[in-house]
């Protein structure tokens, strides 16, 4: 046996081991169950195979755009007043279909120039300002680029919020991602969940972050809190624990007594961003909706010096002292690190969904039904593959072993690929595997038929093998590359099921080029080295 061949065999064994590790990892034991568990951790089954809920939600981005222009309307009124421009009305001509358009009407002729300069001054970065139609009318249209960015931000925020909520549910391996087919759609996949109604109500609920007035606290524990209110909690109050997550002095055991009715409810936050106060300290800057702003102003102006608490998921996140009256924008300051500011502002943002969600598709597959379909499908597929393997042995005799080994190795490499890239195996993915097996068998048949032809024309075994592989290679190369090209295109343009098919097919065919040609050739070479002179190969 020559040195070169040893190297090749070593390479094949290395690839085999790496791939087995890819989909098995290191099992916790040697029993069959330990192996199955280990594989289950690496190879992820799609919802169609293991059961679960699949949701597609449309984010109603028009709402976010509408909220933004609502805000702009308020600012337009203020700014025009400040510039001493009179007008009859500021309104949205068609809030349902064109939430991005704000119109000012009845500006006096004298104020027209001043109105124009004011509007362009304050709004031209985000809006196209045009004097429209009738006398003294101006139209502010949100710039398309600004609108697109806003819509994108809205979808991103919705994804963030949903992810938080799904995580809170304790679902393992959830998927929350842009769906990519239509605009502004989000795909949510929740394996193992079959009660969709409950999940949906949690995902779609809006209000969860609130600001409450602090009655007392922090107390060491619940008993101390109760003692402070005279043994029983008044019906208007609630006692809540701190979150312990932020380094703002709110540790998990501390208990606060708060007013039950929030000053600001969760759906009243419009945005929250990291910023800094006038002293350069890091802060979280938040904006409330107009109504909530008015209410908040009332409250804060009457309660300067009092404390209020930011409550999320029934835990006190942050307690702040009211330093001055606040209307719709405010800051929560403290000795924050940059990451904390980032976390807190994200929490404020994710507290509420930026826009409502419209479910446009949902599917649930009962866990046992998923398991049932996979069992039947896999059993049938395995039976089919076994028949094919048996036939190859029968028809090509000794060389059939080559084909079967190559086929087996092909599947191992494919599974290894899937383990490493954590791809998800779905029903269409299995279709890709079937095509891979078909083409794998085909490659072997092509090579063997070619070798037979060469043997028939009287060539010696080594020459026949050499020629057979050489001729078949061109064909195999072309068929594989053509199919890989088409699979790559399906991967790029397809979604969901089409993609799943493309992934397994591409991996499978790449593996097949290696197993059916390289591995099979090495086995032949190894066999040739052991043939006695004049002995024929078994094919």
């Amino acid at each position: 046996m020559n040195k070169n061949l040893n190297k090749k065999i070593a390479l094949i064994i290395a690839v085999l081991l790496v791939c087995v590790y890819g989909f098995v990892g290191v099992p916790q034991g040697v029993s069959g169950k330990a192996w199955l568990d280990a594989i289950g951790k690496r190879i992820h089954l799609g919802l169609d195979l293991r059961g679960g809920a699949h949701l597609i939600l449309e984010v109603v981005v028009a709402e976010a755009v509408g909220a933004e222009t609502d805000d702009a309307m308020g600012r337009v009124q203020q700014d025009l007043k400040a510039a001493n421009v009179t007008y009859t009305q500021v309104y949205k001509p068609d809030p349902a279909k064109q939430p991005q358009v704000v119109r000012v009407e009845g500006v006096s002729a004298a104020g027209s120039a001043s109105a124009r300069s004011t509007l362009e001054d304050k709004f031209s970065t985000q809006y196209d300002v045009s004097s429209g139609g009738s006398d003294g009318a101006f139209t502010l249209t949100m710039k398309p680029s600004v609108q697109t960015a806003l819509e994108q931000k809205t979808v991103d925020q919705a994804i963030e919020t949903i992810t938080d909520r799904v995580n809170a549910l304790g679902v393992s391996e959830p998927v929350v991602s842009p769906y990519g087919l239509g605009k502004n759609e989000i795909l949510v996949e929740l394996p193992g969940i079959s009660d969709l109604d409950q999940v949906k109500s949690i995902i779609q609920s809006t209000a969860r972050l609130e600001i409450h007035a602090v009655v007392g606290g922090p107390y060491k524990d619940e008993q101390e809190a109760l003692a402070s209110t005279g043994g029983t909690l008044p019906p208007d109050d609630i006692a809540l624990h701190g979150s312990g997550n932020l380094a703002t002095g709110s540790d998990a055991d501390a208990v606060y007594v708060l007013n039950r009715v929030p000053v600001v409810a969760g759906n009243q936050f419009r945005s929250a961003d990291p910023s800094s106060d006038q002293n350069g300290r890091r802060a979280v800057h938040f904006t409330l909706t107009n109504d909530a702003g008015d209410k908040f102003y009332d409250y804060t102006s009457k309660n300067v010096g009092q404390s209020m608490a930011v409550v999320m998921e029934n835990r006190v996140k942050e307690v702040a002292t009211i330093q001055s009256a606040i209307r719709d924008t405010g800051e929560i300051t403290g000795s924050f690190t940059p990451t904390e500011v980032e976390i807190l502002s994200k929490m404020l943002r994710t507290g509420a969904l930026p826009a409502s969600l419209n479910p446009i598709e949902d599917r649930t597959v009962g866990a046992s039904l998923g398991a049932d379909s996979i069992r039947q499908g896999v059993t049938a597929a395995i039976a089919g593959v076994l028949v094919v393997m048996a036939f190859m042995l029968f028809y090509y005799r000794g060389s059939g072993i080559n084909a079967d080994l190559a086929l087996f190795l092909n599947l191992v490499i494919l599974l290894g690929f899937m383990g490493y890239t954590s791809s998800v195996l779905t029903l269409p993915g299995i279709a890709g595997v079937i095509l891979t097996i078909g083409m794998g068998v085909d490659s072997n048949v092509l090579i063997f038929e070619r070798i037979r032809e060469e043997v028939r024309s009287g060539k010696a075994p080594s020459a026949a093998i050499e020629q057979g592989f050489g001729h078949a290679w061109t064909t195999i190369f072309d068929t594989h590359v053509t199919t890989i090209v088409s699979a790559a295109i399906l991967f790029l343009f397809g979604s969901g099921p089409v993609k799943g098919f493309a992934v397994t097919l591409t991996f499978g065919l790449a593996a097949n080029l290696f197993t059916a040609v390289y591995v099979s050739r090495v086995i032949f070479d190894w066999h040739l080295g052991r043939l006695k002179p004049g002995e024929a190969i078994s094919i």
Binding site: G377, V387, V441, E453
Partner: protein
């Protein structure tokens, strides 16, 4: 053991039979698609994935009575529900499929599945096995988006293959192969229309599989033609094509036979979920194998003869040398 050794069939002489066969199946498929188009507004019955609507698969603890379930639906005021026994091959599942037609209004989506389950709980004393319930609710827009996108992705991938074959062989090879694949898809989809079977997302995966399979088959034959043309430049193209088909016949029958066997096992034992999927493959593999011999190869010859009849130089469409 060997099959088809030294076969010598004049395949091209059969081309008119092939044409007739292909036409009969394509046209009857097309007619059936036209019939569906006028009746249901789409060329083939579409599954809930594409059509939109609500489908609830329920497993009962005892043998369900379809009539009573229908009454339960009526009693709850659910109109147009179709109720059918699911997977008749496995009656022990006690499964029933209840479908509601497409909702035209996205906001009505939610209502459907809940009313169905409520109706069953209220009017039918046969407890449901909750872990086995499958609910599909698809809004009309998603369905259409999916439909369009699956179609576009397939067309792009066909174009990609055409370009690759143009680069590796010649344009006419690419065109012939794509026409053959298109022919296969048409006949397979036609079979769904003829047999009134629904096309779902998994069937789309099967059609993609058959496209890949049929393309593979065609390229194997084309590759032999290219090789033989290089070896014997004096032989006429029809002879070369015939010889190439005959030489690869053994491999074609073997591969197709084996793949067919796998798919057939899936069709017979794979259960209801895979039924449409494996049916498409069973048809697709038969047609895919047939088309590489009966459609793609004769097209090459026809093209060359057409060029000759126009008095242009007879160029054998295989000048490029394969590297590989």
């Amino acid at each position: 053991m060997e099959l088809f050794r030294g076969v010598n069939v004049d395949w091209l002489r059969l081309k008119w039979y092939f044409l007739g066969f292909s036409l009969i199946f394509s046209v009857s498929g097309l007619i059936s698609m036209g019939y569906h188009w006028t009746h249901i507004g789409s060329p083939v019955p579409l599954g809930v994935d594409f059509r939109g609507g609500t489908e609830v698969e329920v497993h009962f603890t005892q043998t369900p009575d379809i009539g009573v379930i229908r009454q339960a639906m009526d009693a709850s005021g659910i109109k147009d529900a179709t109720v059918q026994r699911y997977d008749p091959t496995r009656p022990s599942l006690n499964a029933v499929l209840i479908s509601l037609p497409e909702q035209h209004n996205e906001t009505e989506l939610e209502a459907g599945q809940k009313t169905v389950l409520d109706a069953l709980n209220a009017h039918y004393a046969n407890p449901i096995v909750p872990a086995s319930t499958k609910v599909d609710v698809v809004g009309p827009t998603v369905g259409h988006q999916l439909e369009r996108q699956a179609l576009l992705a397939t067309l792009y991938s066909l174009l990609g293959m055409l370009v690759y074959l143009w680069f590796r062989f010649q344009l006419i090879y690419g065109i012939a192969a794509v026409v053959a694949v298109f022919h296969d898809t048409l006949i397979t989809v036609g079979a769904f229309a003829l047999l009134d079977k629904e096309i779902s997302l998994t069937v789309i995966a099967a059609i993609l599989t058959l496209v890949g399979y049929s393309m593979n088959d065609t390229i194997v034959v084309f590759d032999r033609i290219r090789e033989n043309l290089r070896l014997s430049r004096r032989e006429s193209l029809p002879d070369v094509v015939n010889r190439s088909i005959n030489q690869t016949l053994s491999r074609t029958v073997l591969t197709s036979g084996l793949t067919f066997l796998t798919v057939l096992s899936l069709y017979i034992f794979g259960g209801q979920v895979l039924n449409g999927f494996s049916f498409a493959l069973v048809i697709g593999i038969l047609i895919g194998t047939y088309s590489s011999i009966a459609v793609a190869a004769p097209m090459l010859v026809a093209w060359q003869q057409w060029r000759a009849s126009k008095g242009q130089a007879v160029v054998l469409p295989a000048a490029r040398r394969a590297k590989g």
